[in-house]
Symmetry: C3
């Protein structure tokens, strides 16, 4: 939907001439690369609670934000650039690196921050003229969990929830997805977008995908593929007297075999089966909104009793209420409150430690001018640390602040 002028791309190596000889269909290709992005600068302060703890006991930490802890100050959570473009013939591409990826084991064993690593690299190929049905090839978001699909630049709270994110830490994987979006769904989404609602992005209403399933930017370690199916459906509530309101409901299923990384080095010898379901319901904030997702599943988790990874329940979700404050001349203001709960493994970390999360966060997102978004939040956290060598639940109060700039 970009209206402005765009960055013209140089033609691929032999573009100038190729067209002439391989026919009009090939010749018409023309690419235009657009550049945009955003950066998030954060500060978290544990104002009371288990900032530190003895060995063997959980400290207050979050798998969603490495700067919640002791000895932390400013932190770049994300620094992204997106290169994207319509390549003609119903083909478009998307390439998004992150400029805030750490590399471990550098000088003195310390990590170095802010290396550049890929997040997305995919191409969309539309199979019909209206571009309702398309195939996506490459690295992209896994269609499991509405919250996972929505860009962090659009999410109102600072972090995703452990429950919904536990299926696909970092949200992405490498594979092929088929997306389909009926015209009536697209129409409602377009209408919401015009009202400045925060949608979940350019994903279809229905999706089926297969992926490596080992986690983004990790080496595939088995021959099996992860399969994911998703559906979501926005509905106008005019019929029940709520004129202009829209409710969106849907869900996903995921089946995977994974070899988690283990503390003794490398990955587990055998595969662990993972079966998960998630459902979502969103009443878009006009001005009052409510959003909830819940996930159920069986997935790997470290069992401290037997000192090994086994399969167990992975269950949790969140409920969030938010309010779009009517325009009063100082930008957009959205206060929110969210409760989240999760009990289950976290496969992104060594040995798939068991999480036991029970957080409440109150916050407000303030967008004084388009390029700047401030978020301030207070969180009451109860969490198991994502380390199977530490037991129990840590508690505490955390003050949180973020400045996001969009370019």
């Amino acid at each position: 939907p970009a209206a402005g002028p765009t960055v013209a791309a140089a033609p691929p190596p032999s573009a100038g001439a190729s067209g002439a000889s391989v026919g009009a269909k090939v010749a018409k290709a023309a690419s235009a690369i657009k550049i945009r992005g955003y950066t998030q600068l954060r500060v978290n302060e544990i104002v009371s609670g288990d900032k530190t703890a003895p060995d063997g006991q959980s400290r207050l930490r979050s798998v969603q934000d490495g700067s919640i802890g002791s000895d932390t100050n400013f932190f770049i959570r994300r620094a992204r650039i997106v290169l994207q473009g319509d390549l003609g013939h119903g083909v478009s591409f998307y390439l998004q690196p992150d400029f805030a990826s750490a590399v471990n084991s550098q000088s003195a064993g310390e990590r170095r921050d802010n290396f550049v690593q890929l997040r997305d690299a995919y191409v969309d190929v539309a199979l019909d003229k209206a571009e309702r049905f398309k195939l996506r090839f490459g690295q992209s978001k896994v269609p499991f969990g509405w919250e996972n699909l929505q860009s962090s630049s659009n999410r109102v709270p600072l972090d995703r929830t452990d429950a919904i994110n536990s299926a696909v830490p970092s949200e992405r994987d490498l594979g092929i997805i088929a997306y389909y979006t009926p015209a009536r769904v697209q129409e409602i989404w377009d209408e919401l977008e015009e009202k400045d609602q925060k949608l979940f992005g350019n994903y279809g209403a229905f999706a089926f995908g297969v992926f490596n399933g080992q986690g983004v930017n990790r080496q595939e370690r088995n021959d099996s593929l992860m399969a994911v199916v998703m559906g979501t459906w926005p509905m106008r509530l005019d019929g029940i007297g709520l004129d202009g309101q829209v409710l969106e409901i849907g869900g996903s299923l995921l089946y995977n075999k994974v070899r988690p990384e283990i503390r003794s080095g490398g990955v587990s010898d055998g595969n662990f089966k993972e079966k998960r379901a998630v459902v979502h319901a969103i009443l878009y904030p006009q001005p009052f909104g409510i959003q909830t997702e819940w996930t159920f599943g069986r997935a790997p988790v470290y069992d401290t009793a037997i000192e090994a990874i086994e399969i167990d329940d992975a269950t949790g979700g969140y409920v969030m209420a938010m309010y779009r404050v009517p325009d009063f001349g100082a930008g957009r203001v959205i206060p929110y409150v969210r409760w989240e709960r999760y009990k289950g493994g976290w496969k992104g970390a060594l040995n798939v430690p068991r999480l036991d999360t029970n957080d409440i966060e109150l916050g407000v997102e303030w967008t004084p001018v388009k390029p700047l978004e401030f978020t301030f939040a207070y969180a009451r956290m109860k969490r198991a640390e994502a380390d199977e060598r530490r037991a129990g639940i840590a508690e505490g109060d955390v003050l949180r602040a973020q400045l996001q700039w969009n370019y």
Copy 2:
């Protein structure tokens, strides 16, 4: 040769004013940065043969494609962005990172994929008005082997051959090159490009370069430089009754001293001398083409008998036939068959293991629309694994597929 609009670059720090004071020659500089790139998504499946093997014995693996093996699925082989521009005064620059570079020894000793690392970073300075003679400074391709110089986005088969690539794994190094292109050569190349032929890129017909010689993105480890000289000459065959056909022949010589990385850590104490020659002949496909290169040399290789690196023969090459199917309305189609052979060391790997490669690959490249290229291939491979601790030859049949998108 880009005709379209270009991305205008911001002037360098003090550009606006500098011109005025340092004279017209400096003032005329104007830069325009163009962006383009391509990504390759791959799947390989060993359908029969030595997918695995006991310790000490070769498994079917390729130094050209890390996703040929067991426990593999989707794989991003390359994700590239090129920034390039004409800076005026006969000066132009080229900067190409790859978004699919691995970093080793991360969590649990596992690697993390898809970090961004430099491939090319060079500046060309033309010494004459017609820009036939130019100096290239920086990191760029080493002019040894026609196949090495041709971009992977233009190559018909999926991979380069072990023999030709063994001299310069990853094709690049850091140094200075002088290129010269006679007008009559440029004229033939321009004509071929207009016919959508896949050339070897913006390298001259004659080249002489000096480089660090330790391998791209590796630390220089001796005081000596690698020297390379190249010549290539396209000839019209109209005179012998083959109207419109073009044959290109040429070759390169390389002299180097290198300190290979060794399994016990670091690099070898002493230098190993490397002397290589390569010759090529290409009949451009109009519509039937044939392409062959052969290399001869003496270079380091691990000798399992004496358990040390020594100097031995490095010999091999390939013959490829291809056919440009006349336009039938479904894009460009190029079937090909290639046989390759190599016996010699692979200095890109620890301890310079001995390769013994004997592959036949049948495939087809299909470009339905300009931005998309599908390649499907069947390969019958016989290969020694690039690991001096594994002996013998592995064999097998591999089905291969790649989707490349150009932007």
Copy 3:
């Protein structure tokens, strides 16, 4: 101050519509991303002196240039791209990665070069209409030392000096800075820039900032912040008969607590206090210039007597004379001579080794055409190696050459 056309950025995800609903202030935002950069290719040759030394004794090495040593040839010192843009509402952003960052502990324990890592990622928010007073959030240069603030692409000599750079190796950190520039200062700087003078960049005349203080792209390791205050003031010397000449004087103060990385792994258990002051005076070269900075402080340094890090003096500075050769039709030529001295710790290296630097460098920067800058230099160096396990001072003569291309 870029006048040319710019790269138009795609609007952020929901841009098209957002404006309409959150009021005119938000709606007016418009972003335009500009791209520029530069690359530096270097060669250093120690022509006489302590190129090598026995264990325990200093070799001739520099913390400023890793390619001064034995077994070195070509080296990419910096390869930078800047993305920047005015985002409207007095908001602008700046994102600069470096394409020449090494990653250690890769194959055979060897490093791999030329990965991409962030240098700057900040947003400027002007608090007044004239944009004299602004807040900078994110990763950016620490306002300590005129030389540290000036871009390497603008500096006449090849490297910064150890003394001034020792406070902030790599010059940057993560934090928040307030900048203020009075109109009379801006006016003089604009005038100098029009005369093609090399200024120190878009930093204010007065600054106060707080930062993590652990060093750029390193994990914060304590709860305290580094505080820095700076002032600089350009003055016309017309009043004392030096018509058109400008003298700029100023200085900075820095207070920090840091946990240096130690050889046994990780960082020091306790904090080390760091207090530094620096003063500068620059007579801009019209055509003869002189530039000097001196720093005094107490900072951590390894004491070989007690085999531990302690607090000691960190003192040094430089004097540089330069001359802008009047235009003679072959571009801009600036010969220079610089003497530098430093005694104190280098916190960027393991165990904060003690430096004892006493260098003289004679050189010339030649800009034949705008995009190309050649620098040739001869240096007489006396230096302690930045390794607490090596004692004494190494001496030697070094020939140095650099080609920088600007795009």
